[in-house]
């Protein structure tokens, strides 16, 4: 024991010598935060009225559903997978939950005879549905040994087909599903008022999910297992990790988070179509990678994902806010993604 302590002490002493280098190391290790802060500074310099509680709240609440999705796919990435079916799952969840929660007064309901359901029922239902599709993804990846990119790409196409068939039905055809029950839209659009301070409910849901996922990743066996599988699947198997079961679980859990996010998304926007969620997978996956996860698996943190999502939202919101030409926004967004990851990847580069 003493031996161990000695060594740790040694380390501390030796590092005192090079404070400058340590700061640099710290900066490289926290590059993502610095990118976020840098971005905010630039926006504020261009447009000082960006600093406002409303903007702050807007960005956070717009990030809320995205962070839930990103945490889902994030777990999969940690386990060395990926999930392109995210966006279409969101779409399916949004359409199904919206279709079951249209206000009875609304004339163009998908189910005219349907009584008013407690809102948790449809939400739970889509969580289960998306969880099952996630489970199928996991099965194809873990059991059929199909590369996750291709497995979930296939699922993405399948889900779009299923959702379109569900969505595009007589008599109203491919109609955005609107007229949502006020209880449902309130569930996502209301705020929690503490004195004069009001926090959008969405932010609160997101925080709950973040804490839950943080706990799952860091404090449970399941968390360790997915890091082990992502880090070295064979070594994990030899160490007694049930690789197949844990992969099934991680994909299923992601699906359930998509289900939740998809119904929140429908409630937040107030309408849903079969194209809801289209392309979200790329944003969510990029946010994870920008936030420090790696496709080679076994690396990543919940905090990183949150920051990654925030960066994307700050880019989208901030650039619109300062009135950058929309086309130029694409270019800037692309550049920021690349630069952020390039800086971040410094920390893994062998100092040769």
């Amino acid at each position: 024991m003493s031996n161990f302590k000695n060594r740790v002490l040694d380390k501390k002493e030796s590092s005192k010598n090079s404070q400058g280098k340590e700061i640099l190391d710290w900066m490289i290790n926290n590059a993502i935060f610095l990118v976020l802060i840098g971005l905010l500074i630039v926006i504020v310099v261009i447009s000082p009225d960006f600093i406002s509680l409303t903007n702050f709240r807007n960005i956070l609440s717009q990030s809320s559903t995205r962070v839930i999705m990103a945490l889902g796919v994030g777990g999969i990435i940690v386990a060395k997978g990926t999930d392109l079916s995210l966006g279409r799952s969101i779409g399916l969840a949004a359409v199904v939950s919206a279709s079951l929660l249209q206000s009875p007064e609304y004339a163009y309901r998908m189910y005219p005879g349907l009584q008013r359901l407690p809102i948790w029922q449809p939400i739970l239902l889509v969580m289960i549905i998306c969880g099952i599709f996630g489970l199928i993804n996991g099965f194809v990846v873990a059991k059929l040994k199909v590369d996750p990119f291709i497995a979930t790409l296939g699922m993405m196409v399948i889900l779009y087909g299923i959702n379109s068939i569900y969505f595009d039905r007589p008599p109203y055809g491919a109609q955005p599903i609107g007229g949502l029950d006020k209880r449902f839209t309130d569930f996502a659009q209301e705020t929690l008022d503490i004195g004069s301070f009001n926090i959008p409910l969405l932010i609160i849901y997101a925080i709950v999910i973040i804490i839950f996922v943080w706990f799952l990743w860091n404090k449970t066996k399941f968390g360790k297992n997915i890091f082990a599988i992502g880090g070295n699947q064979e070594a994990a198997a030899v160490s007694g990790v049930n690789v197949v079961r844990n992969l099934l679980l991680v994909y299923m859990f992601a699906g359930m988070l998509y289900g939740l996010a998809g119904s929140l998304e429908a409630a937040r926007i107030g309408t849903a179509t079969n194209n809801t969620g289209n392309g979200y997978e790329l944003d969510a996956i990029s946010a994870c990678i920008v936030g420090g996860l790696s496709f080679s698996g076994g690396i990543g943190s919940v905090g990183g994902i949150v920051v990654g999502v925030l960066i994307f939202q700050v880019i989208a919101y901030g650039l619109s806010f300062i009135g950058v030409n929309p086309y130029l926004q694409f270019i800037i967004k692309g550049l920021i993604i690349i630069i952020a990851v390039a800086i971040d990847s410094r920390k893994y580069i062998n100092k040769k």
């Binding site: 409303t54 717009q62 007589p170 955005p176 926007i269 309408t271 809801t276 919101y317 619109s320 806010f321």
Partner: protein, 324 residues
Amino acid sequence: GNKNKSADAEATPKVGVTIYKYDDNFMSFVRRAISKNAEDKAELIFNNSQNDQAKQNEQVEMMISKGVKALAINLVDPQAAATIISKAKEADMPVVFFNKEPSVEDMASYADCWYVGTNSAESGVIQGELIFDSWKAHPEWDKNGDGKIQYVLLKGEPGHPDAEARTKYSMETVVDKGIQVEELELQTGMWDSVKAKELMDAWLAKHGDSIEYVVANNDAMALGAISSLQAEGYFSGDKFMPVVGVDAIPDALTKIEDGILVGSVLNDAANQGKATLELVLNVAKGEAVLEGTEWKLDENKAVRVPYVPITLDNIQIAKDCYSE
């Protein structure tokens, strides 16, 4: 094909139909109208071009090879008519374009082609008129009292003919009619509610009540903007913001009834679908294109089904489209 089929095949000829994007809400009504009118009269082969002109070209090749008698084409990209026409010409195949209009030159380059649709600019002009009329009726909407409309505009997909035409003509019409305007923001919401909501969130944070009008290229984006406005407390009490859209989709109609949405512009799907089917059926059977129909062709061989402005006063017209 040279295999001349018997009279009963002639009675229900095979007709190839492409839809630029199957799940476009408006096109889904047109599509339904086409199939409903085709019952017992034609064998339709529907194709989803997935908003990809290359796919559509391939589907046309496929249908020609399959031996259809005529084509009904909802172009993905109106400029691509020339390529479709050259394929049709080669196979001696009549074509009825619908909803997206080829250029005058392309229409003139082939005798056996026709068009059914609206006038793309018209929806913009009608939307402009809606804005003009409502503004005149509500002097209190000029919050800063400068006589100008300070507006924000949610544009559809850049390059989309409807998006371009609506963006151009709606505010141009307002100006032509004599009201000055000032554009506070114009960005693309890609026809999408979510994107529109988030743009609106930012604009409200930035301009607040300096915004006097929200103009959207379609209803989906108008609804997104409304949802953002509602979160900021609009439409309750005396806080109000005028919003207009295009399409007159059911959800928009209820918003009009609730007094939230100022108005929308109805694209008459039922009649566009009916006209398309009737024309294509005639040419597939080798009959004169307007034989037995009530339609008229204009100088560009086009049947034009008008857009209809929709406000609370005439909302029933739109509702009738969704009753059945």
